[in-house]
């Protein structure tokens, strides 16, 4: 074996030592996601964000609903909960209130979080529950085969909108903002560095935090609408995204293959639900009340 080949192999080996591997349950790989799917890219960013966050990973818990994105919990080497369709947020609420020392992240799809689970999103944001919600928005129900979602723009076909969607979609950052989220941003899976940075920033912030991640579903949404493969979609993200930090969330709804406004839109301080509870009871009950926090007693 020549010296240069040796060197080459050694280099290849170091490259194989992917820095996100320690964050994954390696005994569960290969994953179920299709080639070109954007969910994996977002998870990669999340792993990098975990590294950079400096958090004790034993204290980070991840909660998913049901869907392709909902499988994320199962691949991460954290305390991880794959719950029921639409209910990741209330499960996360119980987990967080049960042990306020945990940093609780909800990672799920657009259908899961905004159709069946929409009500929970609104209320968790309103209460300023101290959780980070990451929504992978692929404009469709991936897991069930490409049905219309509350995020589907007007125009493209879905299996349950075979003649093209005529319903108006939600503008997710606008909802999060209006309901009181402390942090709201949107990135696409093209923006890996910005996305990882946003995730890191959000991981270290308090309150109800929301990140929308635009992500291709090449198998269903793109193919059905002749939008090419995953790479074509990422190219579209690249060419049509404009970064507008601080943009008014009401102006950034997404149209079909139109302009994509990305950036950080909201970053504010508000007392979390638990802080409000503790403050309030301390005021009303005085010495009779011991602020709640930390682990359940006797455990």
């Amino acid at each position: 074996m020549s010296e240069s080949l040796d060197l080459h192999l050694a280099l290849a080996e170091t490259e194989l030592e992917n820095p996100v591997l320690p964050y994954l349950r390696q005994d569960r790989i290969p994953h179920i996601w299709c080639p070109g799917c954007g969910i994996g890219t977002s998870v990669n960013c999340f792993c990098r964000a975990l590294t950079d966050s400096g958090l004790d990973l034993d204290k980070v818990a991840i909660v998913s609903g049901i869907g392709c994105t909902g499988r994320t919990a199962g691949y991460l080497n954290l305390d991880s909960f794959h719950t029921t369709h639409g209910r990741a947020i209330p499960f996360a609420t119980g987990l967080k209130l049960g042990n306020p020392d945990l940093n609780v992240v909800v990672y799920s799809g657009d259908g899961d979080l905004f159709a069946i689970g929409g009500n929970h999103f609104f209320h968790a944001a309103r209460r300023n529950m101290d959780i980070l919600v990451i929504c992978v928005n692929n404009f469709t129900y991936g897991m069930t085969g490409g049905q219309v979602a509350p995020t589907t723009p007007v125009g493209p076909t879905q299996t349950t909108m075979p003649l093209g969607n005529f319903e108006s979609p939600f503008n997710l950052p606008f909802i999060a903002d209006a309901c009181g989220a402390t942090y709201v941003s949107r990135w696409t899976v093209y923006h890996v560095r910005q996305l990882a940075k946003a995730m890191k920033e959000a991981l270290n912030k308090k309150g109800f935090r929301f990140i929308e991640v635009m992500s291709p579903c090449p198998t269903l949404y793109s193919r059905r609408n002749r939008l090419g493969d995953g790479v074509d979609q990422v190219k579209y993200y690249k060419e049509n995204s404009v970064i507008k930090n601080g943009a008014d969330t009401k102006d950034i709804g997404l149209g079909y293959q139109g302009e994509i406004v990305v950036g950080k839109f909201v970053d504010r301080e508000r007392a979390t639900w638990l802080e409000s509870m503790n403050d309030h009871f301390s005021k009303v009950l005085g010495d009779q009340f011991k602020p709640y926090g930390g682990k359940p007693e006797g455990v």
């Binding site: 005994d27 794959h82 029921t84 209910r87 119980g94 209130l97 020392d101 209320h123 509870m277 709640y292």
Partner: protein, 386 residues
């Protein structure tokens, strides 16, 4: 383990069943409730909301029962003992999460203060018509445990028992109250904390590297538990899973998991018999009852006995699992069973199934809204004794 005194309101009280149930939960160690109000169960969460700030813990009113019934499960995996409180329509909304608790083996107490149905039905009036819903209402095969109190005192006592059983078997345990028991006010004696036995969670002693979330042995079908944040990096899913807790959707894994989930209750069915028997030996007729109906049945039985009939009373404290063997044994000596209940014939089906046509089984149904007239039950006892 003894109860934590902070949650025990030792003394003699004059309170209704809903309030007594709440005290039972606090005594059992429940410090986290996520609820959603619904008549006639609301007073349980109202009392919890009022009591918990000083006891130490959290109450949160969620946006609906779907949220409440899964938020409590989040609380469990954070290390808490929890209760889920509802009635009628709320119970219907919770069915998916009942299955989730069974599948993930999340110990939890589910309180159903039964009211007349279907649908909105009779919000303020009693029924016992959810007995089959809790057993069969979530999809797939599963087993639960259900207890049925007939007084405020029993709401307290059986609540503690429900918590203890849920920890022992790691399954949902139902406290099947009804509107009358929930709203009836009686004397309730709450013992000192050191007189109350509470079952600790089945915490693992294993190190994270040796721990598998759903590992069991043939002798002990209940896996050991952990809580989030302790470094075990557990995975919990409602999908069919292997002993690591990882999704594994194949026929053998499904068979192994579902069989174990059923067997951990079924194989302990003998241990889980809890009945009150009165005069069953030598009886010609046995009245099988539960909850509030047992009190009306007692009146009917006394009259029947005064008329010279040999009538026994079998009151189910634990309704699920149903005491099949006990009923089969009794069927060898009686002429008939009479089964009054505030529904159109639910638990009577279990009695019929157990006796396999060997003796008469007479249903005394009632569509709900009030309790039976003792005379209605008496008539059937007389008929059965013939």
């Amino acid at each position: 383990m003894k109860a934590d005194p902070k949650g025990v309101l030792t003394g003699v009280h004059f309170i209704d069943g809903d309030h007594a149930a709440c005290e039972g939960a606090l005594a059992a160690g429940c410090r986290f409730v996520a609820g959603y109000p619904i008549t006639p169960s609301t007073e349980i969460v109202e009392r919890f909301a009022a009591r918990i700030p000083k006891v130490g813990g959290v109450f949160i009113q969620m946006e609906d029962e779907l949220a409440a019934s899964i938020a409590i499960q989040g609380g469990v995996w954070a290390g808490h003992k929890v209760m889920n409180v509802t009635s009628g329509p709320g119970l219907s909304l919770m069915m998916e999460h009942l299955g989730y608790a069974c599948m993930t083996e999340t110990p939890s107490v589910w309180v159903d203060v039964q009211r007349g149905g279907p649908s909105t039905g009779l919000p303020t009036l009693p029924a016992q018509a959810d007995m089959m819903q809790i057993k069969w209402g979530s999809h797939g095969d599963y087993e639960i445990i259900a207890l049925s109190p007939n007084s405020p005192q029993e709401c307290f006592d059986l609540m503690i028992k429900a918590f203890n059983l849920s920890e022992e078997y790691r399954c949902p345990v139902f406290l099947m109250m009804d509107e009358v028991v929930g709203h009836m006010t009686e004397r309730v004696e709450i013992p000192a904390a050191d007189q109350i036995e509470v079952t600790e969670r089945k915490w693992t002693k294993k190190k994270p590297k040796d721990y598998k979330a759903y590992e069991t042995t043939p002798e002990d079908l209940v896996p050991e538990m952990i809580k989030a944040g302790d470094g075990y990096r557990v995975h919990v899913t409602g999908l069919t899973h292997d002993e690591r807790g990882y999704p594994k959707m194949d026929v053998p894994t499904q068979a192994q998991l579902v069989t174990r989930l059923l067997d951990k209750i079924r194989k302990n069915a003998d241990k889980l018999v809890d009945v009150r028997m009165d005069g069953c030996e030598g009886a010609d007729v046995i009245v099988v009852s539960f909850g509030i109906t047992s009190r009306v049945a007692t009146a009917a039985i006394e009259t029947a006995r005064a008329q010279g009939l040999k009538v026994g009373h079998l009151r189910l404290i634990i309704c699920w699992p149903f005491p099949v063997k006990l009923i089969q044994d009794l069927a060898k000596t009686v002429k008939a069973f009479v089964v009054p209940e505030l529904n159109m014939g639910q638990m009577v089906l279990e009695v019929r199934k157990a006796v396999e046509g060997k003796v008469k089984v007479i249903s005394v149904p009632h569509p709900g809204g009030t309790v039976h007239e003792p005379e209605t039950i008496l008539e059937q006892i007389v008929e059965a004794a013939r």
